[in-house]
């Protein structure tokens, strides 16, 4: 039982961080298919920087580097006004290519314990993050402006808010949270491997949608998905084929998008300039 709970936390906290990273961009109106790529790059940065500069400095540099990648997304979607989906896919491609290409040069070995990112700190952040984000988006000036930019950018403009500027901040938030998630994944498996995020970006996006783009609910959805994969690992195809377990999050999300589980809560300004 203890094992199961432990497994559940290990599986779900990275998902929580990635889903909230998605919250930062999607609630501000930027469709983010690129979460997978950003997290993969964060994993790569975490190994590359932590092995050279130690855990603390490594984490900071990972956050900075991932935020810069996230700002590339801002540049493409807001300045160049590229289609959000194409830009997200392109970032995923770029991340997969670049990490695979530079892996041998910058991140050939696993991290030892002395260089591994601060695991406990990251877990603690992952646990308080949903509440923190709820506070940020409902109780602060920035949060309200951020949600208005995502709900109706044209009306937000009439109120003197610049959606592009707000989204700039939002995408920095996305970068920071992706960096935390990537560092956490590296803290658990200290070696960087190609495609090591293994679809977590998409599962997290699914959780965000299932949670109706609300931080606490998205966190709970991640916990649900984490529990499902923990059960799958624990019972490993004993009663139900493990592939069915793995499909469960996607199937539930499909039903949620189809509106069979409550009303559709997609932010109205999602993907609008």
């Amino acid at each position: 039982m203890i094992d199961l709970i432990k497994q559940c936390i290990t599986m779900s906290i990275p998902l929580v961080l990635i889903a909230l990273a998605g919250f930062f961009s999607e609630r501000g109106g930027v469709i983010n298919i690129g979460l997978e790529g950003k997290t993969l790059l964060a994993c790569f940065f975490a190994v590359a920087f932590s092995s050279r500069f130690g855990p603390g400095m490594g984490l900071c540099l990972t956050i900075v580097a991932t935020s810069l990648v996230s700002l590339l997304h801002w540049l493409l979607t807001q300045v160049y006004r590229m289609d959000h989906i194409i830009s997200g896919m392109a970032i995923n491609l770029l991340a997969a290519g670049a990490t695979s290409f530079f892996k041998f040069k910058f991140a050939p070995d696993g991290l030892d314990d002395a260089h591994s990112p601060p695991k406990m700190l990251l877990y603690a952040l992952g646990i308080i993050a949903p509440a923190l984000l709820w506070w940020l988006s409902h109780k602060t000036r920035f949060g309200l402006q951020h949600r208005s930019a995502g709900s109706d950018p044209d009306k937000a403009r009439l109120l003197g808010i610049n959606p592009q500027g707000i989204r700039f901040m939002g995408l920095i938030g996305t970068g920071v949270l992706c960096a935390l998630a990537g560092s956490l994944l590296i803290a658990e498996t200290p070696q960087f491997t190609d495609g090591m995020t293994s679809g977590r970006g998409y599962i997290a996006l699914a959780a965000l949608i299932l949670g109706g783009w609300r931080p606490v609910n998205a966190g709970l959805a991640c916990l649900l998905f984490g529990a499902a994969s923990a059960l799958q690992i624990q019972y490993n195809g004993q009663y139900i084929p493990s592939e069915a377990w793995k499909s469960l999050p996607y199937l539930v999300t499909l039903l949620a998008i189809a509106g069979f589980l409550g009303r559709n809560r997609t932010p109205a300004g999602l993907g609008k300039p």
Binding site: Q78, A96, G97, F102, R157
Partner: protein, 368 residues
Amino acid sequence: MVRVFLLLAKLLIRCISSGRDFALKLYRAQRSGDLRKLFHATVLGLAGSILLVASLMVAGANPVSAISQLLTGSVGSASAISGTIREMTPLLILGVSVFLALKAGLFNIGAEGQFLVGSCFAAATMLAVGGPLGVVLGVLVGAISGGLWALPAGYIKAFRNGHEVITTIMLNNIAVNLTKWLVSGPFKGEKAVSATTATLPINSQLTPLIKIGQFELPQAVVVGILLTVGVGYWLTKTTSGYELRAAGANPTAAEFAGVKTKQVTVKAMFLSGSIAGIAGALQIAQFEHRFYDGSSVGYGFDALGVALLAGGNPYGLFASSFLFGALNKGGTSLMGLGIDKGITTMVLAIVIIIFAAIKYRQRGGQND
């Protein structure tokens, strides 16, 4: 202590917001000016090339020898060209599939899943029936299963207002798990050790149409060319094709002109899925001769790039799928120089970014 921390935090926010102000200036600057497109194409192209060359140098490779190896490995000899065509075939057919959906205003990210489902069921059919008849039935089953796999996405888009990108991503992941389960259970070959079907009998493997020395022209690529021409004709010369394009270009206007946009959306998604399924079936019959877990190496995602680069013209698909095929093939030959294949993926990503930043721009919002 707390005061110092607050001061630092304020300083950090100040730094970030001055960065934001600079970025916004950039944003305003690019909103005015006539040569914007040309300028941006040049800037982005230069930035992309510098990034790629710098990447090669940092990794300790010689950019010149890498580029020449990329060329010889992809189009340098008859066997290299055959390899490129082999890589190009699934990309061309999947490109047609994504292109068709794109014309109806749909992003079919799900080509990957439809390809997998189509090839899995096609392989099972070909094995069960056998012979040339098996191939024909297999392609048919591939088309139907691929189409059915895309149908939920079309339905949810048309009648439930759910974004097709999200639903097709979900369907992709379900398809991966479903086909994995099928080939490790019901469809698994009798003597197979890993998760794979049995190999097709010789008489249901498609032979190359033309074979001169090292050069091979597979039958599947001919089917792909016919499909491209057929879809191009259908979209531009028939009523139903026109309705599909109208629904994609402006759904509201199309609705008022009497087009049943919802039905058209569902139909477009089904057709797109069927073509992706055909790609899967032909991949089995012509090249792979069996279906195994993990047999698609992201063809579906590359296909989105192929369709985007075709830029609205179906015949552009030939060029763009050839480019992608050549990069895939050449990338494999780069391994010989000790350069990771990832660099070609980076090239593709940068090409897509440059092209999309110029061609697929959004309108509306400030100043428009």
